[in-house]
Subunit: 139 residues, 2 copies
């Protein structure tokens, strides 16, 4: 019996049923937001096909599908900067997953903690509504 078959037998197919709820895109991929579970830093955005998501949900280690290399990429196997799963949630329309992790070392291949550390787009800041406005608009 293969590892995959053993895992399926142990969880009664629950993982398969969860993965069946995902709306993969035309390339068979779903966007995966990776967030540090305690500090809540957004570390990176990666892509997963059904098999990468299955490995992520069943092994405790985050695995992506590398679009550039066209291969599975278990985060940290080369760099040592592993991602250990703390939680995983699917969004309301099924086309994005949020994976909470414990990140070992920097998440970014450039050596920064997150992949969003280097490039500030300098937006015009929005005027924050007052509490009163919040109350009116959220009945």
């Amino acid at each position: 019996m293969s590892d995959t078959e053993r895992e399926k037998r142990e969880d009664g197919g629950d993982t398969d049923r969860r993965i069946a709820r995902v709306a993969f895109n035309d390339d068979g991929l779903v966007a995966a937001i990776i967030q540090q579970w305690d500090t809540r830093e957004v570390l990176m955005l990666g892509w997963m096909d059904a098999e990468a998501l299955r490995r992520t949900l069943t092994t405790g280690r985050v695995t992506f599908w590398s679009r550039s290399r066209q291969e599975y990429w278990r985060k940290g196997d080369t760099s040592g900067h592993t991602q250990h799963v703390h939680g995983a949630r699917l969004d309301c329309d099924g086309d994005a997953v949020l994976i909470e992790v414990h990140q070992v070392g920097p998440a970014c291949h450039t050596g920064t903690r997150t992949c969003f550390d280097a490039d500030d787009l300098h937006p015009v800041l929005g005027a924050e509504p007052t509490v009163a406005a919040d109350a009116v608009s959220s009945p």
Copy 2:
């Protein structure tokens, strides 16, 4: 002079240069992760084309491109659940943006605070490495 032309004149084309760094996909879109700036909750994932990103960066209000409706969608115009920009960053390979916002009311059209509140994928949890292991793997 149109609003767009006026904005371009005022910022000396800086916004255009920032947007030119974005690696839009074959459909002309970039993934936009929306995060509440203070609690750091990940609220949703949306999509922006260059014009939606320009509007987001220059007006203080988050604007998406709706793939299903094929139109611009300024978050909250219908629901009142507006998103006010607090920050915007581009990732290391240019194909994802992280927008920090103040979210008024629930972010999700289902009425939940975030789009990730309803569907737990129940992953197997990873074994968290010890501090010693962290130190070894992040020299």
